[in-house]
């Protein structure tokens, strides 16, 4: 990471957002864009999103801080002519405007888009909406969980004896923000080459669909609606239940020793597992009674699968997370610990790659490490983390900036 040459040098982004638009703006800021948040007086509502953390002088949203690093903040009341003039002046000089449905209604977006695009035909207008734009569902109320449901993901998660269960963080909204960052840059690439701006809309529902991977094909080809699973599920259109989460001495690991695809990596992994089990004196005949990962791996009977995995499960239960992880990495066994959040902070792989970077935020009195180095670019590294702005911290700067632009004309 550096503060030197950056990929999006000179690219100006206006962001009017809640969560997903901020995720988009954050990715662009990391890549070197100048991202200016437009907030109401006192700051945007997302500054109060849960979880709140104590900062100097009060509390602020952890989510808001994380997804607003390295941006500027201008306050303006977009319900007034003066506020709209501030927006117009900024939009005139912007390359990308990004917004999302949690912050603004479609009507408000349309009003601002018309102003921005009249002032600046080359501008990219990027908007994140629950279902995309332009149909009878434009005004249907939506949240992250309802969109996890309508994208088909919720139905497939959780133990079969309880209701389907969500992923407990707003994955749909965050992924839609990340998707908007690439979609906005695609449109900007086009504008850069042709001078033509345009609108691009991102659907959270469709972003969730893209997390399913084979669900819509499984229905078309096999008329199969995969039943949900938790620790155990019918994976990848398998006809039998496989265990994915395995208890060990002090936690859980994810492991797929036998059955249901995986190619040569799974074959080698199984061989390495058998070698380790043999060292411990476990050489049950069932382990080698058939080629578990070869021909017929998709058509193992449930009884056979349960029998072989019972032997493997009892072996894994005798090991600690550290023993399993160390051996897995050394011998290429397809196994990974289920990390807690604390585990992620001390993961040696992250440390070796400088994935976490220290954020020094003197105004909030924060000194923390954050997962900001999400891509390595040889010529234009990502920016090191810089604090999220106080509301309106840059209002004066950009007012002067706008005056200079006007007088230069």
């Amino acid at each position: 990471m550096s503060d030197g040459k950056v990929a999006l040098s000179g690219v100006r982004v206006i962001e009017i957002s809640a969560l997903s638009g901020a995720v988009c703006g954050r990715a662009l800021a990391d890549l070197g864009a100048e991202v200016i948040k437009l907030e109401p007086e006192g700051g945007e509502p997302a500054r109060r999103d849960l979880p709140l953390i104590p900062i100097e002088g009060g509390e602020e949203s952890a989510s808001w801080i994380v997804f607003n690093l390295g941006k500027s903040s201008v306050t303006a009341d977009l319900a007034t002519d003066a506020g709209l003039a501030v927006f117009e002046a900024l939009a005139r000089t912007a390359d990308i405007v990004v917004t999302d449905f949690q912050r603004m209604s479609l009507e408000e977006m349309d009003r601002l888009a018309a102003i921005a695009r009249a002032a600046n035909p080359a501008v990219v207008w990027a908007e994140i909406l629950p279902f995309g734009r332009g149909h009878a569902y434009d005004h249907t109320p939506a949240t992250d969980t309802t969109l996890q449901a309508l994208g088909g993901h919720l139905y497939q998660n959780g133990d079969v004896d309880r209701p389907p269960v969500r992923i407990g963080v707003p994955v749909g909204l965050i992924q839609a923000g990340a998707e908007a960052s690439n979609a906005a840059l695609m449109a900007y690439y086009h504008a850069l080459r042709t001078g033509e701006g345009q609108r691009v809309d991102v659907s959270v529902q469709e972003c969730v669909i893209w997390t399913l991977l084979n669900t819509t094909m499984a229905w078309q080809i096999l008329q199969l609606n995969e039943l949900r699973g938790g620790a155990i599920r019918k994976e990848r259109a398998n006809q039998f239940f496989t265990r994915l989460v395995w208890p060990c001495k002090d936690g859980f690991v994810v492991f797929g020793p036998v059955g249901g695809g995986g190619g040569s990596a799974r074959i080698k992994s199984y061989d390495a597992l058998l070698k380790w089990m043999a060292e411990d004196g476990i050489t049950d005949d069932i382990l080698t009674s058939r080629d578990w990962n070869g021909d017929g791996q998709f058509f193992i009977s449930q009884e056979d699968y349960d029998t072989v995995t019972d032997v493997i499960k009892r072996f894994i239960e005798t090991k600690t997370l550290e023993e399993l992880t160390t051996r897995a990495v050394a011998e290429r066994i397809l196994l990974a610990p289920i990390n807690s959040l604390g585990d992620i902070l001390v993961n040696p792989q992250h440390a070796a790659r400088d994935y976490f970077q220290v954020l020094e935020d003197p105004l909030r009195k924060l000194s923390v490490k954050l997962p900001t180095n999400w891509a390595r670019m040889s010529e234009t590294p990502l920016r090191a983390p810089r604090p999220a702005p106080k509301a309106g911290a840059h209002t004066a700067t950009y007012a002067i900036n706008a005056q200079q632009t006007e007088s230069a004309k």
């Binding site: 965050i174 972003c207 819509t216 954050l370 891509a375």
Partner: protein, 397 residues
């Protein structure tokens, strides 16, 4: 028809499995010429992942593979052959972008590391995506998206508090990381457009996925509070749950964040006092009361009534529901594409829509080596005699 954003962009695509091909699909569906290079001795592993047409495994029969390879050309080469660069070098010279998602070290072993590629084509942009990243002690540790999600904290945040963590559907890190890898790739392309300079872009799929729990990592460091999975509960919501309705595995999500929504919910469900009482007792009691009221109802009808009253609600869609969803239909999400062995299947289109440069899924996924000759002659300019020579030497599939 207006041209796609990447019309004229050329991509030499060694991506395989899911995360990589989903990334390059965004290029091909937007007009780039994407040549998927497969080793015919070791084809893309997800060609071996179901669902298979007629439930019979086969190299050109996987719907899992197909969905990530619309609009791409397929070329089959023996990448273990010592003369592989006779074919790959001209392809790299031709390309703007080289992309791979192999276990780190594979491209270097073939003489195709970034330094090698830059010598062949100084303006090249190289995108390399792997589970753990190209460096570090775990870089060569194999794994799939389920392992990636586990390491990234997704299982930790999914499931019931009194049960083991749940593995969410899909190879979850495979679906998060393409969004970030494409963003970085776009930035590199924009930089090259402005300066002429290519570069090496490297991503770890797990690192992209950890972005989803970044707020919880900050919270943990500042407050010492470690967020945990909690079923369908959501902090700050008045009510937030998933409830059974009539029919086979029919479930509805209902969520109230505000008192206005709460009032609308209690009226719509038709038992305001009972729900008020349950709310006073606590969330378990409230879930129970709501579940009793939803149980005899049709999930779709109830969802419509709740939405009309302003309450966020949704049916937990099955795969079959997606293919019949009026929203997706109105948005032309699915693209019927014909494949010689698989027939016509509906492929998933992107999550974004460009107003002026529409995305077009131009063709079904390539059969293994389907376009080898086309790429060799029309794109790289080899003669029929050259190709026959390569075949004699066992280089081409």
């Amino acid at each position: 028809m207006s041209k796609g954003i990447f019309d004229g962009l050329k991509v030499c695509d060694f991506m395989w499995a899911a995360a990589g091909p989903i990334t390059t699909k965004q290029l091909s569906d937007n007009g780039a010429t994407v040549v998927k290079v497969e080793s015919f001795k070791h084809p893309d592993s997800i060609r071996l992942g179901g669902p298979f047409i007629d439930n019979k495994p086969g190299i050109n029969r996987s719907g899992f593979f197909a969905d990530f390879h619309s609009s791409k050309l397929g070329m089959a080469v023996d990448m273990s052959h010592e003369d592989r660069l006779d074919i790959i070098r001209p392809l790299v010279e031709w390309a703007d972008i080289v992309a791979d998602s192999f276990r780190p070290g594979t491209m270097q072993k073939w003489g195709l590391g970034y330094e090698d590629l830059k010598k062949i084509n100084p303006r090249i942009i190289v995108l390399s995506s792997s589970l753990h990243g190209a460096t570090g002690p775990w870089s060569r540790h194999p794994g799939y998206g389920a392992q990636g999600a586990a390491l990234a904290g997704i299982q930790h945040m999914t499931g019931w508090s009194d049960r083991p963590p749940a593995t969410p559907k899909g190879a979850y890190s495979d679906s998060v990381s393409p969004r970030y890898s494409l963003t970085a790739l776009m930035a590199a392309l924009i930089h090259r457009e402005r300066t002429g300079e290519g570069q090496f872009v490297e991503l770890a799929q797990i690192e992209a996925t950890v972005q989803l729990v970044a707020p919880q990592l900050l919270d943990l460091q500042v407050t010492g509070h470690e967020a945990q999975r909690s079923g369908n509960r959501k902090d700050g919501a008045i009510q937030h749950g998933v409830y059974r309705c009539t029919g086979d595995e029919r479930w509805i999500v209902i969520e109230c964040e505000t008192e206005i929504q709460w009032r609308a919910l209690r009226e719509t469900l038709g038992a305001p006092e009972r729900l008020d009482t349950a709310r006073t007792i606590g969330p378990d009691s409230l879930d129970e009361a709501i579940a009793a009221l939803t149980a005899p109802q049709d999930a779709f009808e109830l969802s419509e009534r709740l939405r009309a009253a302003g309450v966020p609600a949704a049916v937990a869609y099955k795969g079959s529901d997606l293919l019949e969803d009026p929203i997706l239909e109105a948005r032309d999400h699915f693209w019927p594409l014909h494949h010689e062995e698989m027939g016509t299947l509906k492929y998933n289109g992107p999550a974004y829509r460009f107003e002026k440069t529409p995305t077009v899924l131009r063709s079904a996924s390539p059969r293994l080596g389907e376009h080898t000759e086309h790429v060799m002659t029309d794109l790289l300019g080899f003669s029929e005699a050259d190709i026959a020579g390569f075949r004699d030497r066992g280089l081409l599939g």
